[in-house]
């Protein structure tokens, strides 16, 4: 204590202890001084922002939570419950359409299949996101099988009643497109990236043409191709499910982006790493799998997650080719005469859903980067 209070004290050389930093440079006081009140301009900005927050947050909280109405049968009933009509959110509308937002027009008797798929999805995510899960090896085998199990459950056949895919909608549809796209685009993208930098000219050429073609065309155009033109290229008589076509297009689209992100990561792995792996006698595939890709993918995490988030949000584009994702359901619900005019609630609800998913992905990627950092 005494020493800390008196840093001027004399010590014989070599015996100087580590003293705590002065009080004004640590703790919340120092933080506020550094970040909120470090200069006159900063002080003004702090005050202005504090005033803005004070004037914005209470009305929002009021609109969303305090005065909002959660149960009612129509907007008129909703407004009747408020202090002033239209003065707060009418969540009763979302509440009454919740099943529609989640399942789309999936037959009511079969909705348990969607629920089971959702539980399976959570079980699929656990071993992927949590690398210390017990028996992870077996879980991962299940993970590879999951997309096919889920596809069987959702679409039916082999003992289950078939559900036409155009009845799948809402959040279910978003998750199907998002998860399938993410699951398959990563391996395809990595293969394309390796192909593009390959020494074999034919392979590299093929990958370049594919990547540049897909990247050069808007996703929406590819979706139109999927919905209208793809049947012309297929042998006559074969019909190819629209959802399937959309899935393939979304997958290829994000695979092309992933490929470029991963290629950036591959180029950032120092030459010395390739040489050390080669000098050891590892084969090309061993050195790619054990040395180069783990490092390249780690570097590419921010870009990969960025692409995934983009893909997840782009799933809303299927609205344009007539599929009923949450936005499509929202628009359909708004055309109901007893609820019309509640667009704010609908779009806010959808925005919150997408935000939670995307923000979750973004936080997870930060956690992963931190975990994989080994001090180099």
């Amino acid at each position: 204590m005494n020493e800390a209070a008196n840093p001027q004290k004399e010590y014989t050389p070599g015996t100087h202890p580590d003293l705590p930093a002065p009080f004004a440079t640590r703790g919340p006081v120092a933080w506020m001084r550094d970040n909120l009140f470090s200069s006159p301009l900063n002080i003004i900005l702090t005050v202005v922002v504090a005033w803005l927050l004070y004037s914005i947050i209470p009305p929002i909280v009021n609109w969303v939570f305090i005065e909002s109405v959660w149960t009612a049968d129509s907007r008129v009933e909703c407004w009747a419950q408020m202090k002033e009509a239209e003065g707060a959110a009418c969540w009763a509308f979302i509440n009454s359409r919740l099943n529609l937002f989640i399942y789309g027009f999936y037959p009511e008797a079969e909705r348990w299949r969607v629920n089971v798929s959702f539980i399976l999805l959570v079980m699929f995510l656990i071993p992927i996101l949590w690398d210390k899960a017990p028996y992870r090896k077996y879980w991962l085998m299940y993970c590879v099988a999951f997309p096919f199990i889920a596809a069987w459950l959702l679409v039916g056949g082999f003992g289950l009643t078939k559900v036409p895919t155009d009845e799948i909608g809402g959040i279910t549809l978003t998750l199907i497109i998002g998860v399938t796209g993410i699951f398959f685009s990563l391996p395809i993208g990595v293969a394309l990236a390796l192909g593009r930098i390959s020494n074999m000219p034919a392979v590299s050429m093929l990958c370049v043409v594919f990547i540049e073609f897909i990247r050069g065309v808007p996703l929406i155009a590819l979706l139109f191709v999927a919905s209208t033109m793809l049947n012309y290229f297929l042998p006559p008589g074969t019909s190819f499910d629209l959802l399937m076509r959309v899935l393939i297009m979304v997958m290829l689209f994000s695979a092309a982006y992933i490929a470029e992100v991963v290629r950036g990561g591959l180029q950032a792995v120092p030459r010395g790493q390739h040489e050390a792996a080669d000098a050891m006698g590892l084969t090309y595939w061993q050195s790619s799998r054990l040395i180069v890709l783990p490092q390249a993918l780690k570097i590419s995490i921010p870009g990969i997650v960025n692409t995934f988030i983009g893909l997840f949000k782009d799933t809303t584009l299927v609205l344009i080719i007539g599929m009923l994702d949450p936005l499509g359901i929202g628009r359909a619900a708004l055309s109901d005469a007893s609820w019309s005019g509640l667009a704010r609630e609908v779009y806010l609800f959808i925005a919150i859903f997408f935000f939670l998913c995307c923000f979750g992905m973004s936080r997870y990627s930060l956690y992963l980067e931190k975990k994989l950092h080994t001090g180099h």
Binding site: G272, Q295, T374, H376
Partner: protein, 256 residues
């Protein structure tokens, strides 16, 4: 020094393990290696020196085909180096290499760095590979760092791990490409000590270095290269005290 003399006896008997004949290499238009001829006996230790850009690193990198030569022949342990991938992988697994910048795998622990080659190339069971790895870590005097990542070690420690990593493959030949050039002065000695110990065990070594003390202590032959050619070669004492060629004299006067 008796063990050194013994292996020097071994080196004199004719059992060439590396044979390089009339070898040329170009980088694009640039002629880096010009008509290189070199025979290395089993158990022989050679130090290669020369000014920067003289082709000395390129020469030893040709021996495990990190660089491809365009003319002439290189054979290692009786196997001719050609484009044949199987031969290249076989030779690489018999020839250890230590790099200037260590090139440890940063995403793997020290132990994983050491066992990777034995497990994947030699198909050694993991437990056995780890046991061997631990022995070599003890030999380079850092067994306590086994579970750390390379980024947490000092340069000298990293280079010793890199040497141990090569030794885990149980190579017949070791190539050193300026192993101490990227190290702080106080760390050079710990790496050289490990290399001297290795030399005394009778390992065939080719070492690109400017550590003349090391050359005098362990080398059977010193080779001087300039402009892609072997200018002069001699046993260390003669080489340093009585250089023949003017370029060698100039080079030695600059570094000594």
């Amino acid at each position: 020094m008796s063990s050194t003399e013994q292996s020097s006896q071994a080196a004199k008997s004719s059992d060439p393990v590396i044979v390089i004949k009339n070898m040329h290499k170009w980088y694009g238009e640039f002629h880096v290696l010009k008509n290189v001829n070199l025979e290395v006996q089993r158990g022989e230790r050679i130090v290669i020196c020369g000014p920067s850009g003289s082709g000395k690193s390129t020469l030893i990198r040709c021996i495990n085909r990190l660089e491809v030569h365009q003319q002439g022949h290189i054979s290692v342990d009786g196997t001719e180096l050609t484009g044949d991938l199987k031969n290249i992988e076989k030779i690489r697994s018999e020839v250890g290499m230590v790099f200037q910048h260590f090139n440890l795998f940063p995403h793997l622990t020290v132990m994983e760095n050491l066992t990777l080659g034995p497990i994947w190339v030699r198909k050694t069971p993991k437990a056995e590979a780890e046991e061997t790895a631990m022995e070599y870590l003890k030999r380079v005097k850092i067994p306590e760092q086994a579970e750390k990542f390379p980024g947490q070690l000092s340069g000298g420690q990293q280079q010793r791990v890199a040497i141990a990593r090569s030794l885990c493959m149980n190579p017949g030949i070791m190539l050193f490409d300026e192993p101490t050039s990227a190290l702080d002065p106080e760390m050079i000695k710990e790496v050289l000590d490990v290399m001297i110990e290795l030399a005394e065990s009778g390992m065939t070594m080719l070492c690109v270095t400017h550590e003349m003390g090391f050359a005098t202590a362990v080398a059977h032959r010193v080779i001087f290269m300039d402009f892609g050619e072997i200018i002069e070669e001699n046993e260390p004492h003669e080489f340093f005290n009585n250089p023949q060629n003017d370029r060698t004299k100039l080079f030695l006067s600059q570094i000594l």
